[in-house]
Amino acid sequence: MKPFAYQVPGDAVAAVRSVADRPDASFLAGGTNLVDHLRLGLIEPGLLVDVTSLTSDEITDHEGGLRIGAAVRNSDLAADRRVRERFPVLAESLLAGASGQLRNMATTGGNPLQRTRCVYFQDVSTPCNKREPGSGCSAIGGSTRNHAILGASEHCIATQPSDMGVALAALDAAVQVLGPGGERTIPFTELHRLPGETPERDTVLEHGELITAIDVPDLPIARRSRYRKVRDRASYAFALVSVAAALDVADGVVRDARIALGGVAHVPWRARRAEEALRGAPVSEQSYREAAEAELADARPQDGIDGGNGFKIPLVTGTLVATLRELAGEEA
């Protein structure tokens, strides 16, 4: 681990300037992902700019929805009464992630920006296009159990690991960003990007752009929402597949749905095709299966030394069906 400078500037604007000025500078929030990366030698920043005291740590009512300051800790967000009542999917997604200790440290700004858990990305002794552009993708033909089935490229098949991000994608959230050139708002579903030919870029954020808050708009359908995470053990593991879903049914018909998938792509995957298929469909397992099928039409599973990830296709289907059944009031 290389020595680095540590800085707490006076305000967010100064923090942005500090980072923007130095290509080797990074923002530091809870550090639960970034510090691991320092230890593993994945990154060697020259300057860390601590932003935990420079952005809001409050959740405020905002245009009928909520504005969540970037410094709000994951545990505080999950415990907030408004979140639990109006956006249960968000609270559940947070509680399904990491551990109590980690959630006490992890922040709203840092969580969606955590990087992939691809084992080759995290091991400097193996090639990885995301870590070292052009070096090759070791996951292809290797261990692919945790890798993408949707939207991957021949350069990278990694998945975005954030649970919270999946809920935010389903909730039409928006990201407030402060950059060297001022403020902008990015729809949450456009924050992350598919790997394409430049997997080294996880998001559309430019160097020096700081997340200051995340807005969750008023969304009545979200009161009936769930986060269902499926993983290799009962707790404290990343998702193999997860589903964030909200469902509005009346008279045996689906009126509206919000669905996002985790563990399947380089982004929290908003399942618009499934939502489309569900709108107006009868409340039935058949409809849910068809919705899953529509969403997975372009799924491309990977072979791998650990059996590959083809199982994610039936797993997404099963998890979506189980979640929608539960939301519709049927037995899981």
Binding site: V119, S125, S138, R233, A237, F238, I305, D306, F311, E331
Partner: protein
């Protein structure tokens, strides 16, 4: 027959003597040993799996402020013995597996050492490597013997005929994956060359090391370094788990000693990272087990056979005795067992909790379940019908064998009676529910060598023995044994362990620690009483060693158990949960129920992990385990363990030792995975023969 002790302290539910120190954080572990002005060593590992180190460029690393020295194959001292290739650290340019130590940095701080290690530039001449284990390799070979000295193959009667003639036969292949011990405390050493311990030729060595045996560690290290026994002291009061991986010395200890010798007068700390432990600290070989069962229609076995294929490292052989438990478990006139190895370009496999029995009771116990289904017979009943009168292998009687009692009591506690034999018959709240059973076994051993000293001092009895407490409870149970052997209250007895300055003691392994060290304490206590009677004076002291068990040749001695599992498999997602796991064991006298229960529960939990989670994914393109941390190598989390119970039956065995005890450290992990797999089959009708049982097996 051994003269059995009258139990007074033995059998009591005493709390751990070392508990408060551990809870308060004052128990000192190897890496925390207070030493003056320590340096830190960080190893550099090979990034090829086979070939030669062409060059090591240490320029950048050495230039870093705070770096004291960089050791390479070219500059490191020559060791006295390189017979053990795993321990021949930096002795040649050869690379035998990916992750082998190819250089090491010694620096003023841990952080500087880490940074410098990243700056060491190693160039290789790589040659093609081969890390793929399969049963159809052409280069499989039969080792001379397998671990613990068992014969490689056995063949009694005619298994082929039995398979040809029996009305019911079963032939299936079962596999267990590569698994890593992963104790919580990583392998750690603080090493110091101390002039005060030296002889004329140079200083002696003190190692504060996390080890399962200070004396075995010393014996190995002094051989490698060419020192006299009294030139080396190994100290280890506490161990944060070992599970076999600290039972035999690995390269890290030799590395620490070499690093410290390179910086005279200063202690050096070396801790392996979790990732490094995946290539440097041993692991359990993957196993491929072809099982054959030949049975009558009533379930009586005519034949049982196991043919095992597993791996070892090209640089050093370790042959797991996977086929051994099948030799003695069930009565059958025709029996065969074989072991074949593939020598691959992989790290050196070694002991992991219950080597042999743990993987070796997976295939057979699932096969028995499959046979029971084939015969439409209760799997508990099938096992009872094949209970041998005498050891099927030797014809000798068992000193005690209460497998049937364990099965019956387990069935009773679990509510087994009336179980529907049909698989995939219970769907509750969206989960398929099933139950399963398997048997456990673990041999009762006593090591040949261990000595205890007992001294009377200031009104107390103080015993010393270089034993180890891996968290098992030796600090607590040994005083219980000594107290009863001396005939005094346990509060008046101290037993000091974990230091080669104390008399020699065997390794904490093979579930033999308490039996061996306890027997030595009993000998010493008896001699003390013989010599000094009841009127001991301050300073009175005797030393005595464990003796061979006179009954060893006449009886087969083992502990037995039965494990019952309830398993739920989610109908839509395939998620597997184990709401209930009950074990009933017959392990002689239970010397301390509190300690024994946590050993058994710990073993069963680790067995649960083996069933559902544990799997080292070795990428054959690179040759190393890619899921080499605890985020990706899963062991059970709290939420995976629900109603977990360990019970035992009252068992009196006058033949095993003076305490009447059998080991409890390993038997808990034996059979667990089979019980869970059998229950998962009963729940779903899907028979998983390859561990671990992950959810994808149940998705269609």
């Amino acid at each position: 027959m051994t003269q059995t002790l009258e139990p007074r302290a033995m059998g009591q539910d005493l709390v751990r003597r070392d508990g408060p120190a551990k809870v308060h954080g004052t128990a000192i572990y190897a890496d925390e040993t207070p030493v003056e002005n320590p340096l830190y060593c960080r190893v550099v590992q090979s990034t090829i799996a086979r070939g030669r180190v062409r060059s090591v460029d240490t320029t950048e690393a050495s230039a870093l402020d705070g770096v004291i020295t960089v050791l390479t194959p070219g500059t490191a001292e020559r060791l006295a013995s390189t017979d053990d290739a795993e321990l021949a650290v930096l002795q040649s340019d050869d690379v035998g597996f990916r992750g082998q130590i190819v250089a090491a940095v010694v620096a003023e701080t841990f952080e500087i050492a880490r940074e410098a290690a990243n700056l060491v530039r190693v160039e290789y001449d790589a040659v093609d490597h081969d890390t793929r284990l399969s049963a159809d390799r052409h280069d499989l070979y039969a080792p001379e013997k397998v671990n613990a000295g068992y014969p490689t193959d056995t063949d009694v009667g005619n298994m082929e005929d039995a398979m040809a003639l029996a009305p019911v036969t079963l032939e299936q292949t079962y596999t267990t994956p590569m698994q890593h011990n992963n104790p919580m405390e990583p392998h750690a050493t603080t090493a110091l060359w101390d002039p005060a311990r030296g002889d004329g030729s140079g200083p002696g060595l003190i190692l504060w090391d996390s080890t399962q045996g200070v004396h075995p560690m010393r014996a190995t290290v002094r051989g490698v370094l060419g020192l006299e026994a009294d030139q080396v002291r190994v100290v280890c009061p506490f161990v944060g788990g070992g599970f076999g991986s600290k039972g035999t010395p690995h390269a890290n200890v030799v590395m620490a000693a070499m690093a410290a010798r390179a910086v005279p007068g200063r202690p050096v700390r070396l801790v392996l990272t979790r990732q490094q432990m995946f290539s440097l600290a041993g692991y359990r070989t993957p196993t491929i087990q072809r099982m054959q069962l030949a049975a009558e229609r009533d379930g009586t076995l005519r034949g049982i056979a196991i043919d095992v294929v597993e791996q070892t490292s090209r640089i050093k052989e370790f042959a797991e005795q996977t086929g051994v438990p099948t030799r003695k478990m069930y009565a059958a006139a025709n029996r065969r067992s074989t072991h074949r190895l593939a020598a691959l370009d992989v790290p050196v496999p070694s002991w992991m909790r219950a080597p042999g029995e743990c993987p070796g009771m997976f295939g057979p116990e699932v096969a028995m379940d499959e046979l029971a289904h084939e015969l439409d017979l209760d799997p508990v009943e099938l096992r009872i019908r094949n209970e041998p009168e005498l050891d099927p292998e030797t014809g000798k009687p068992f000193s005690s064998r209460n497998l049937v009692a364990c099965l019956r009591e387990g069935a009773e506690r679990f509510g087994w009676a009336g179980r529907d034999l049909t698989p995939r018959a219970r769907l509750e709240d969206g989960w398929w529910v099933g139950t399963g059973v398997a048997a456990s076994v673990y041999p009762t051993m006593r090591q040949a060598q261990s000595t205890a000293a007992v001294r009377f001092d200031g009104g107390r009895y103080i015993a010393r023995i270089g034993a180890a407490d891996l968290g098992t409870g030796a600090w607590t149970v040994l005083p219980q044994i000594a107290a009863d052997a001396l005939g005094v209250p346990v509060e008046d007895v101290d037993v000091l362990i974990g230091d080669t300055d104390f008399p020699v003691a065997s390794v904490a392994g093979g579930s033999s620690g308490t039996a061996t060290w306890g027997s030595a304490l009993v000998e010493a206590a008896r001699e003390f009483r013989d010599k000094f009677g009841r009127g001991a004076q301050d300073g009175d002291e005797v030393e005595a060693g464990v003796r061979p068990n006179p009954d060893a040749g006449s009886y087969t001695m083992s502990a037995y158990g039965a494990q019952f599992a309830e398993v739920c498999v989610h109908a839509y997602t395939g998620e597997v949960r184990v709401p209930r796991l009950y074990g009933v064991f017959a392990a002689g006298r239970i010397l301390n129920p509190r300690l024994a229960r946590s050993q058994l529960l710990g073993g069963m939990t680790m067995g649960l992990g083996m069933a559902l989670h544990e799997q080292s994914v070795l990428d054959p393109r690179f040759g190393h385990v890619v899921n080499h941390d605890l985020a990706e190598y899963h062991v059970p989390a709290n939420a995976d363990v629900a109603d977990l119970q360990a019970h035992w039956i009252d068992e009196h065995d006058p033949h095993v030792n003076a305490m009447g005890s059998k080991g409890v450290g390993e038997i808990g992990i034996v059979g667990t995975a089979a019980a869970i797999v059998n229950a998962a089959w009963h729940a779903t009708g899907v028979r998983v023969r390859d561990l671990p049982v992950t959810l994808d097996r149940f998705l269609t």
